[in-house]
C-alpha cells in the first residue's frame, strides 16, 4: 500500500524533499513506517532514533502502534515553534 509522507521545517531541509510516497505492507503501523523512513532517508535517521519528532496520520497526532491504511498522509513534525 502507498503512504504519502510529508516533511516540514528542518526535516524537509535535511531530507531535501517536502513529500514522498512510500510503499508499505498491509497492516504496517507507524513504528514500521519510521523504520522504513530511516532506511529511505538516512539524513533523518538520527532524529528519528532520538524520537525528536511528532507523527501525524491524516492530520491527527498518531501513536507508534496505530495501523496505517492505503493512501494515508503521514506527517513528520518537528517540535512546534509558533506564537
Amino acid at each position: 500500500m502507498k503512504i504519502r509522507l510529508r516533511l516540514f521545517a528542518n526535516l524537509k531541509e535535511l531530507a531535501g524533499t517536502e513529500a514522498l510516497d512510500l510503499e508499505m505492507k498491509e497492516g504496517d503501523d507507524v513504528e514500521a513506517l519510521i523504520s522504513t523512513i530511516s532506511s529511505e532517508l538516512p539524513a533523518l535517521r538520527e532524529i528519528l532514533e532520538k524520537r525528536a519528532v511528532f507523527i501525524s496520520v491524516n492530520q491527527e497526532m498518531a501513536k507508534d502502534k496505530d495501523t496505517l491504511s492505503e493512501g494515508d498522509e503521514v506527517g513528520l513534525l518537528p517540535p512546534f515553534s509558533g506564537g
Binding site: P78, F80, S81, G82
Partner: protein, 141 residues
C-alpha cells in the same frame, strides 16, 4: 464562528479584530488581547527575518479545535485567533489572540491559556535568519 480563526500571510489590524469580536455580543464587559511580535534579537544574535511555515490543513484544524476548547473551558463570549505565516520582519505582528468575556478575569485567563496551548499543539514552525546564519527554532518559551 466564521473568520474567528485564521492563518494568513497578510498583516492584521488589532483594532479591526477587536471590533469584530466586540460586535458578537453586547454582554461583553472585558476584552483581553495578546499580540505576539517579532523581536530583533534572539540568544544574542541579530535577527534579520523570521519565516513561519505551517502544515496547511492540520494547523487550521488544530487552531479551530483550540478555540472550541477555550470556549468550553472558560467563561468567555468570543475568542479570535490569528497567526501569520511566511516572512516577517522584526517589529511586525506574528499572532493575535482576542478574548472577550462578561468579566475581565475569564478574558485574561483564556487569553493566556490560548497562547500557551497554541505553542504546544499547532503545527507551525519558525526559522530565524540571523547575521550568523539560519536556524529552525525548536523550543517555545
Amino acid at each position: 464562528m466564521k473568520e474567528m480563526v485564521r492563518i494568513q500571510k497578510e498583516d492584521f489590524s488589532m483594532d479591526e479584530e477587536v471590533k469584530k469580536v466586540m460586535a458578537s455580543s453586547k454582554s461583553i464587559g472585558g476584552v483581553a488581547t495578546f499580540l505576539g511580535t517579532a523581536r530583533d534579537i534572539s540568544k544574542g544574535k541579530d535577527i534579520e527575518l523570521l519565516s513561519f511555515e505551517h502544515y496547511h490543513g492540520m494547523a487550521e484544524k488544530k487552531l479551530s479545535e483550540l478555540r472550541d476548547e477555550m470556549m468550553d473551558s472558560y467563561d468567555i463570549i468570543e475568542l479570535s485567533i490569528i497567526h501569520r505565516v511566511g516572512e516577517i520582519k522584526p517589529g511586525e505582528n506574528i499572532v493575535l489572540i482576542v478574548a472577550a468575556a462578561r468579566h475581565r478575569a475569564a478574558a485574561f485567563d483564556a487569553c493566556e491559556a490560548c497562547i500557551d496551548e497554541l505553542k504546544r499543539v499547532v503545527p507551525i514552525w519558525k526559522k530565524e535568519t540571523t547575521t550568523d546564519g539560519d536556524y529552525w527554532v525548536e523550543e517555545h518559551p
